[in-house]
Symmetry: C2
Subunit: 392 residues, 2 copies
């Protein structure tokens, strides 16, 4: 007979999932009710308002897709791309490559604008691509690259795309709740995120938002959306306004309880304070890591607070370090993805994981483990460097 | 400021979600760990074995899709249907229509075999269609139609499809854990289910299983699977065997804790006992409903235990009754779908909701509410009729 699964209490400082606040876990364990129950429908309405706040938008089409962030990405592409559409994709990490896959599978024509991994998207290169592709219909880019820790200037990139009559799809999986993000002010047309990063919720849902211009493009499609499950025309019958909701699929009730609670907590903290908190603890972590001699792969001006990618010192084995951190400290940090495998660690400071206790724990654990392995870093200095930030 | 959401404790006797056992809710509230954590990977391996037991299969490709049952359906179709493929769909309720949508969106050619709603799929009609469409590649049907409460003879239908060299896609959303289902013995090639029916888990995941013949068809595709998120070639890199898992998407960790617990409970009860339990309580509910004078829409020999669709008596307003049951008894029963709206109630006896306490509560609540509305049914006789079954 199989036993029940009892996971340990980890400290989650990888690229997500991040530490989930006990209030959110408790909310997820509340009694399941029906997906058409009037009380549930009322909760859905609150959720939409809370998500509009998180995204800083008045878009009516703002809701969580009932699947993880990758499905949120696919929701944007399958609804907005029609066969033959040219889509400019700015790639500066793993997730731009996934966008390309999406465009191709929709029958679209991807035009790749390649930037160095670990750098922000270059607006100049995007403008060149827009000039060279006057028939382009869409521009897609990642606001906060989870694979490298670089943040791009979404406001500028969106404005540029609009100058050339392109709509925009923005990946905000890692930025929502952690970095300044203003969907309406910046004019973003379609955006998707995840719940397991700076919202500190469990993985499994993907908040999305679509502007009126994006909806207009969807309404004027000449072909059906290739995914039934992600077809916004159908999904909105369930998430739409009014008491009457059409059954589409059965919503993941308890996961939505968790997201509701996470968004209530964000509303209480306020977005501005959440952004400041991420920046503050990043500064302390950075001071500690740099004091040890660990180097960020992203230049300071293009660096995310919530995802800190540092080079692994020479002669140090990636998996050994992460294994020791996990086994001795119950501490998870992230490995490098793709070409960055074995070359970088990704240390997350996302949502509830972004707090002083975690910064100090991570620095002292790294100090200990790297010391035991005789790694070429400075020992016994990281904590003091972080404390300087905290006492200033 | 928005308040936390505190749902009431309902009794869920609609078409799903069903009552979730407290053990499962508790499991969902356990600490989140990483989706590549070795302990999590170990739990995934157990989950696959437990799902193989639930499906009665040795298929290596057996796992939960990270999204609700509709996405499980889409996983089967987008992977198995290529543009131009003819797919025979037996429709005897709402969900066959959804299969047709899926086939069309994959560029396939659906051939519909229509049966009366409320009846099992007719094997003779399927055979006629197979003869008339020698180029058909797939046959799809619903094992247990949630919209009507009819069960079809999956074993016979699959054997017939194989005679004509077709693979089979079977919807087992409502049958898994509630009705006899033997994937390997019956030769089913692709099957999908949901977690919120007879597994008594929260909604949000879709267990699927694929035979070697189905995988062979997927491997020999000449076109890419149109969905990146649901592409089995990629998903199996994460759910595949061995210690090394490739990152595909972030799994819904806590939802998987819940499903693991639900499957552990099923293993403890045993499948055969779970099937018997559903049948036993169905008999008691049926005795009570029929004593009141309520009529099942499905003939006895084609009737599901876990979904009881009865005609709404003349002059009785559907919404009024369901509203009173919900408000006065915290009891949810289901409305009719599509052409059956306002004509039938669907009373679920699924998973943890399938127990004596619920049968008696439902009968006495219906007796009270229909009595208050002067409905043309017999009063004060339902409970005694059910008790006859329980004491026999």
């Amino acid at each position: 007979m199989t036993a029940s699964f009892h996971p340990p209490q980890r400290t989650l400082m990888g690229p997500g999932p991040s530490d989930v606040h006990p209030r959110i876990l408790e909310a997820m364990g509340r009694p399941t009710i029906g997906h058409l129950d009037p009380l549930f429908v009322g909760m859905m309405d609150e959720m939409k308002t809370l998500l509009q706040y998180a995204f800083q938008t008045k878009n009516a089409m703002t809701m969580p897709v009932s699947a993880p962030g990758s499905a949120g990405m696919e929701t944007c592409f399958v609804n907005l791309v029609e066969p033959g559409d040219t889509v400019i994709i700015c790639q500066n990490g793993v997730f731009g490559g996934r966008m390309k896959e999406n465009v191709e599978r929709c029958g679209g024509i991807p035009v790749m604008v390649e930037d160095e991994w670990g750098r922000a998207v270059d607006a100049g290169k995007l403008e060149d691509a827009l000039k060279a592709n006057p028939d382009a219909k869409l521009v897609a880019f990642v606001h906060a690259e989870t694979s490298t820790g670089a943040i791009s200037d979404a406001k500028t990139l969106v404005a540029l795309a609009h100058q050339y009559d392109c709509l925009t799809i923005v990946d905000a999986v890692t930025s929502l709740g952690g970095s300044e993000l203003r969907v309406d002010d910046w004019g973003i047309d379609a955006i998707y995120s995840g719940t397991q990063k700076c919202l500190s919720c469990t993985p499994g849902l993907s908040p999305v938002s679509f502007s009126e211009a994006a909806l207009e493009k969807i309404r004027s499609r000449t072909s059906k959306v290739q995914s039934w499950f992600l077809d916004l025309n159908l999904v909105m019958g369930y998430w739409g306004s009014g008491a009457k909701r059409a059954y589409h699929h059965t919503a993941p009730i308890n996961a939505l309880y968790g997201l509701h609670e996470a968004l209530v907590m964000l509303e209480n903290e306020t977005l501005e304070n959440a952004w400041k908190r991420h920046s503050h603890h990043h500064n302390a972590l950075k001071a500690g890591l740099e004091a040890m001699g660990l180097n960020f792969i992203v230049p300071a001006s293009e660096r995310l607070s919530q995802l800190n990618a540092v080079s692994i010192p020479e002669s140090v084995d990636d998996a050994t370090v992460r294994g020791l951190l996990l086994n001795d400290y119950n501490l998870e940090i992230g490995a490098g993805l793709g070409p960055m495998a074995n070359k970088v660690w990704r240390i997350g400071l996302m949502g509830h994981a972004c707090r002083k206790e975690n910064v100090l724990k991570c620095l002292s654990a790294l100090d200990d483990v790297l010391g035991r392995l005789d790694a070429p870093v400075k020992h016994g200095v990281a904590l003091a460097a972080a404390q300087v930030i905290y006492s200033s």
